[in-house]
Symmetry: C2
Subunit: 353 residues, 2 copies
DNA sequence: CCCAAGAATTTACGCATGTAAATATTATGC
DNA sequence: GCATAATATTTACATGCGTAAATTCTTGGG
């Protein structure tokens, strides 16, 4: 076995193509073409280079290559936060889709901060990404930043979008459908559902609230919303759901209601509040409390009781967003035609409702 | 209000410093210095440039700047997967710490795939990052890749490390302490704990298993381990915990035991299995079932019952890892002295045990 | 064996910036 | 108003690689 001081790999280290060229006797431009696509050089050179690369260590400089290529082959992605399994799933879907069509993705995370979001946009532009995919922060986003990106390169919004940019390309979930589905389901199996909302800073949250109201009116029921007040933030979804229902349950309200939560993380807090008050949501339970969420957060099957929810088609959203972006990158001249792709949700009926 | 076709920002777009220099009457090298640090140019030029930048749109080319600077000011981070709130917390801690000391972090995610991990390492080297922080995949990692990185630039491992690299700089949790703490606690309040393990591919999982055994022997108790067989993978922690306990409970085993789970995600699956069998873990419950986890996953306070666990000091780990890396970047000549920072865990006693 | 067509390689230049050294400008003190 | 120092700007070259155009090499046919 090797000792710590003799690593497995101690080939000669070479740091420019020029030197590599000298070391293995193939001209630099030929090497350049080899690294872009090995099939671009003759079989003999290809073998010669491969052999050479086994003797010396060399990787082309990322920046130099990117700077000089006509196209960088990169797309930029901005997401609001990482500490949410919904966004990590979305990001993964996007990365896979991009990889499949030969693009590298550069991810920037806003960390719930508009200033960081703005800086992320600057960074993407300075890297000459060929297109940008952004999931906005919500009301806190600086709209100028988005407009700036949009006016500069192919641009697609994912997951949620501001009311003020109705004309932007968008890929997401049809919340009128998905939330409607859940509302309808709850109204059918339990009493008229109450909506556990969030402070109105998140576009999707607002849209789901509106969708809930619309569906309730359509059903001839009285909409009822709790939880729009309070602080908000990525880290506090569960705490918000718990706090709101703690308050309600403590006063004896909502203990036998159907409750539709704006998303699963809020619902997880809601389940917790119920448990604390000796309540258990579920179709099988006496008492009539029902709790449902939205998104199909990966943990939903494991909560106690398991959480009834409506799934977003995350994979399709990621794939479609990338496809649309690549299409408009290739079109060069912006086609002008706005694309709007809204995927339906799918009910996941589990124990909690 | 603006129409869609007249975005707020439609300043003249300038794409090189040369042109910017012509446009606002300041020499290019002066601009270069301005963009590196505005304080590097005279007050008058600074004002002149600021005014100019309000009229035209320009951002320095990321690649050109990075290519030419002596130091890139970037550190690379490789993490095994994103769909785990532990790693997103760690990543956030690292990003904040890096930002504080003026470094930009480039994150690469292995997606549980050694080939992608290897490519990530290549990418980092090709970007001339000044140091690398890696959380390895586990047994599947290609050790040569790590050795290669380590021999090339300042290198620190975080979270877990292979047995085969005992001499590498490492920052993580002292699992002999943390797991010992939990083992001891369970032994004290309940019966001798059983360890719900994982397939032996994850370094931390293995270390916790060993720590459990050591502590049990120290306490004069018989260690007992379940769940080492089965498939593994980032996406299946909860499913694994659930499946193992489903099997046990179905045969009437472990229904009144103290169970220490290798991590919180496995514990969440365990809680679920218990609920399915009409069992509820907890100090307050009759029956004697107790379940504890490890990590203090953000959802622990919200599970039903809330999950007793031992917290890793994620912030400290992130900060310390970055600090160590930056230190050895600045030292230039590798000091040779290995650094090992292990943080103690902290018991979080909740309902489940 | 020679010539032409085709393929591969080399030459030469370009990319957008950093940076050291040389020069010009401004400020300071008297 | 002048010499000098301090500061700012310009000149000139460097970075590592992409790429079009020019050149060399290979191959096959006659």
């Amino acid at each position: 076995m090797d000792t710590p001081d003799t690593p497995h790999v101690n080939k000669e280290r070479i740091d420019t193509m020029e030197h590599l060229s000298a070391a293995i006797g193939v001209s630099r431009p030929t090497l350049s073409r080899y690294f872009q696509d090995p099939d671009n050089v003759s079989r003999t050179s290809r073998e010669r280079i491969r052999k050479g690369l086994e003797r010396v260590e060399y990787v082309p400089n990322f920046f130099a290559t990117r700077m000089n290529r006509k196209s960088t082959g990169m797309i930029g992605v901005i997401i609001p936060y990482l500490n949410d399994l919904f966004f990590s799933r979305l990001l993964e879907a996007i990365e896979r889709a991009a990889m499949d069509v030969g693009y590298t993705v550069i991810t920037q995370c806003s960390h719930s901060d508009p200033a960081i979001e703005a800086r992320a946009a600057e960074t993407l532009m300075s890297m000459n990404v060929e297109g940008a995919l952004v999931a906005p922060l919500g009301n806190h986003s600086d709209l100028d930043v988005h407009e700036r990106l949009r006016s500069r390169l192919p641009f697609v919004m994912v997951d949620s979008r501001p009311d003020t940019m109705p004309e932007v390309d968008f890929v997401g979930t049809n919340h009128y459908h998905s939330t409607g589905l859940a509302t309808e389901y709850l109204a059918r199996v339990g009493g008229p559902p109450v909506f556990l909302a969030m402070p109105r800073v998140n576009f999707n949250a607002m849209e789901r609230e509106r969708a809930y109201i619309a569906k309730m009116e359509q059903l001839g029921l009285e909409p009822r919303i709790v939880g729009v007040e309070g602080v908000s933030g990525a880290g506090y979804f569960e705490a918000h759901g718990q706090a709101v229902l703690e308050r309600e349950f403590s006063s004896g309200r909502l203990v036998a209601s159907s409750i539709l939560c704006v998303n699963d993380r809020v619902a997880i807090g809601a389940l917790r509040a119920a448990a604390t008050h000796g309540l258990e949501a579920g179709a099988m339970q006496r008492g009539g409390l029902r709790i449902a969420g939205h998104d199909d957060y990966p943990l939903c099957p494991y909560t106690v009781p398991s959480l009834t929810t409506v799934a977003q088609n995350v994979d399709a959203i990621g794939r479609t967003a990338v496809a649309r972006l690549v299409e408009s990158i290739r079109a060069e001249k912006s086609s002008g035609k706005q694309i709007l792709k809204l995927f339906d949700g799918e009910m996941k009926i589990r124990e909690s409702a």
